[in-house]
């Protein structure tokens, strides 16, 4: 990790006064649309991604996450709209690897090629010194497997190699598609620290994922899409807080009707889920407990439920089928 910091310091020194204001690493997607035959895979999508923060890009399977990222990277041609990185389209970047690093799929190296050679080929094509390949491997902890062929790599090692490839040009913008796929808990924790650290250095980090609990730990901002459209964008806390219900109290009791009646006069709203559990909104747990005591209602469970990203996500994307 200190290697990265070293690079960052060097970069800062070099960049003082040189970097134009447009190259600040902001990603702007505006009106992006992709139509395949009769499916609008991405539909007039607009959002921005800020530097210095980890942004989670969320959506159900088939929501258009991957297509959006691929349009951003000039791999797929948009039907309409445009996407820029630091004010320029990816295709217009000179030395793109020095600006943007991308990890799109874990299995994107020749199976018979060694890890180090995979990186060296990219260095050659990008005009980067060969030594960057060794540095990048060290950065992701793959040095011991440098001379092993790609087909012998575990899924986690493949992900790390992908990240190493993305870091070759020491880019200010990192774009990762489902990087946590196939990682073990240790690998996921490593990835979280790695990406947070990159953001802390002022880089832009855009990560697509469907692992919502992981995203809640990792992301500062989220962009949620469903069926190709933007559903919600903002800081994680704000998005969670914006939901219709705030904190709810979960109550299990054999006398549900009696408790509902006892709560009826206050500000409480009472819902019943499919197991007969009461979900009480508008009041806190002590209030519910007090009301139960006063009414002589027997309680088996009394829990405060805070909305999490998963709940918010499911609520926001409910009914917007991922598979179209």
């Amino acid at each position: 990790m200190h290697l990265l910091l070293l690079h960052e310091r060097k970069r800062r020194r070099m960049s003082d006064g040189q970097r134009s204001p447009t190259s600040d690493g902001q990603i702007v997607v505006s009106g992006l649309t992709k139509v395949y035959r009769n499916v609008r895979a991405v539909d007039d999508l607009s959002f921005t991604v800020e530097p210095g923060r980890v942004t989670g890009f969320l959506g159900p399977n088939g929501a258009g996450k991957t297509t959006t990222l691929r349009m951003l990277l000039n791999l797929v041609t948009p039907t309409g709209g445009q996407a820029t990185i630091g004010g320029r389209r990816y295709a217009d970047l000179t030395d793109p690897l020095r600006h943007v690093g991308a990890v799109l799929e874990a299995s994107s190296a020749h199976k018979g090629r060694t890890g180090i050679n995979h990186l060296r080929v990219i260095c050659a094509a990008a005009g980067l010194p060969k030594s960057r390949a060794d540095e990048a491997l060290a950065l992701v902890g793959l040095t011991p497997a440098a001379k092993r062929k790609f087909k012998g790599y575990s899924l986690g090692m493949k992900q790390r190699l992908g990240i190493a490839a993305a870091m070759l040009g020491d880019p200010r913008v990192l774009i990762l598609d489902e990087p946590a796929n196939g990682l073990d808990p240790e690998g996921i924790r490593w990835m979280r620290g790695f990406l947070k650290n990159l953001a802390a250095q002022g880089r832009t980090v855009l990560v697509s994922s469907h692992l919502l609990s992981e995203m809640q730990l990792l992301a500062d901002d989220v962009v949620i899409i469903a069926a190709g459209r933007l559903v919600r964008q903002g800081p994680v806390d704000q998005v969670i807080g914006s939901m219709t219900h705030g904190v709810r109290v979960r109550v299990r009791t054999p006398q549900a009707d009696a408790l509902t009646a006892a709560l009826k006069d206050g500000p409480a709203t009472v819902d019943v889920d499919e197991h007969g559990t009461l979900l009480v909104g508008g009041v806190d747990a002590p209030t519910v407990g007090r009301a139960a005591l006063a009414a002589g209602v027997e309680l088996h469970e009394l829990t405060t439920e805070r909305p999490d990203l998963e709940g918010v996500f499911l609520e926001l994307t409910a009914g917007k089928a991922g598979i179209r």
């Binding site: 991957t66 297509t67 691929r70 990277l73 000039n74 791999l75 797929v76 041609t77 990816y90 295709a91 970047l93 793109p96 690897l97 991308a102 799109l104 799929e105 299995s107 994107s108 190296a109 020749h110 199976k111 018979g112 090629r113 060694t114 050679n117 060296r120 080929v121 990219i122 050659a124 094509a125 990008a126 005009g127 490839a165």
Partner: protein, 273 residues
């Protein structure tokens, strides 16, 4: 130049090139043996009763200069096949192993990537040719000495060797074109081999049948079959009744240019997902 270096590194860091070379070696030996027997028979042997309409052809082939040219371009039939397969693999490997994403992320200018692939494959084709020709010159002159004709390096021989180089170059490019048009590795390889082998044999049968029926001018149509055009191009001799050699070269150049241009244009527009 960076891109060409990268493309060459891609080939060098996989086992593809030496597998092709390993397949090629025994085939080269086989054609050499065949050509040795043929040369020996043409010079010393009794060919038996030569049909009258083929007498001219045999006479032309048996000229010492043409015998030399034939030996110095030995292995061409399979060599061109290998070089074409190399071109196909250079492209289809990228799709098969999904490395094309990384390639186009590194270089968003896809035409430049395609140009680099064409240049790198052409260079590899020429290396194939260079090694083959070196071996042919050594063994070929030994054969000529042994059959009593004597080694010769006249202008006819050098002309054949030069045209042979052109053939290796063009088939490499054709391979790249086929690879782009047919992304599936198996599909492209099978199509390429069929086009090369099946196309050759089938076309020979069809054309000779038609020629017998409608007259000799049909023979000129063999120009349109890529592999026949290339073999015409490098026949050591101007064989009576065959189209001129430069025409074969022109047709092959045409195919290579069309394959390269269509391939590049296709890749520029394609969504990589």
């Amino acid at each position: 130049m960076n891109l060409v270096r990268a493309e060459l590194a891609k080939v060098r860091t996989t086992n593809m090139w030496w597998i092709l070379a390993l397949i090629y070696l025994p085939l080269w030996g086989l054609t050499l043996f065949f050509n040795y027997v043929q040369t020996d028979q043409l010079v010393n042997g009794n060919l038996g009763q030569v049909p009258e309409d083929q007498a001219d052809t045999v006479a032309a082939v048996a000229l010492p200069d043409n015998l030399a040219a034939n030996l110095y371009t030995n292995g061409q039939f399979f060599g061109l096949l290998m070089v074409m397969l190399l071109g196909i693999l250079v492209v289809t490997n990228e799709f098969f192993h999904q490395t094309v994403t990384t390639t186009f992320l590194t270089t968003p200018h896809r035409s430049a990537v395609m140009a680099a692939k064409l240049v790198a494959t052409a260079a590899l084709g020429l290396i194939f040719w260079l090694v083959t020709t070196g071996a042919n010159l050594l063994v070929g002159s030994a054969i000529l000495e042994s059959v009593g004709v004597g080694a010769r390096y006249g202008s006819a021989a050098w002309e054949a060797i030069g045209l042979n180089a052109l053939a290796y170059l063009l088939w490499a490019i054709l391979g790249v074109g086929i690879g782009v048009l047919i992304r599936s590795q198996i599909g492209a390889t099978v199509t390429g081999i069929l086009l090369y082998l099946g196309g050759t044999i089938g076309a020979v049968i069809v054309i000779s049948t038609l020629a017998a029926r409608f007259g000799d001018w049909i023979n000129n149509l063999q120009l349109l079959v890529p592999s026949l055009a290339s073999s015409l191009m490098v026949t050591g001799a101007e064989i009576p009744g065959n189209p001129p050699r430069w025409a074969g070269a022109a047709v092959l150049v045409g195919y290579a240019v069309v394959a390269g241009v269509i391939g590049t244009l296709t890749v520029r527009r394609r969504d990589i997902s």
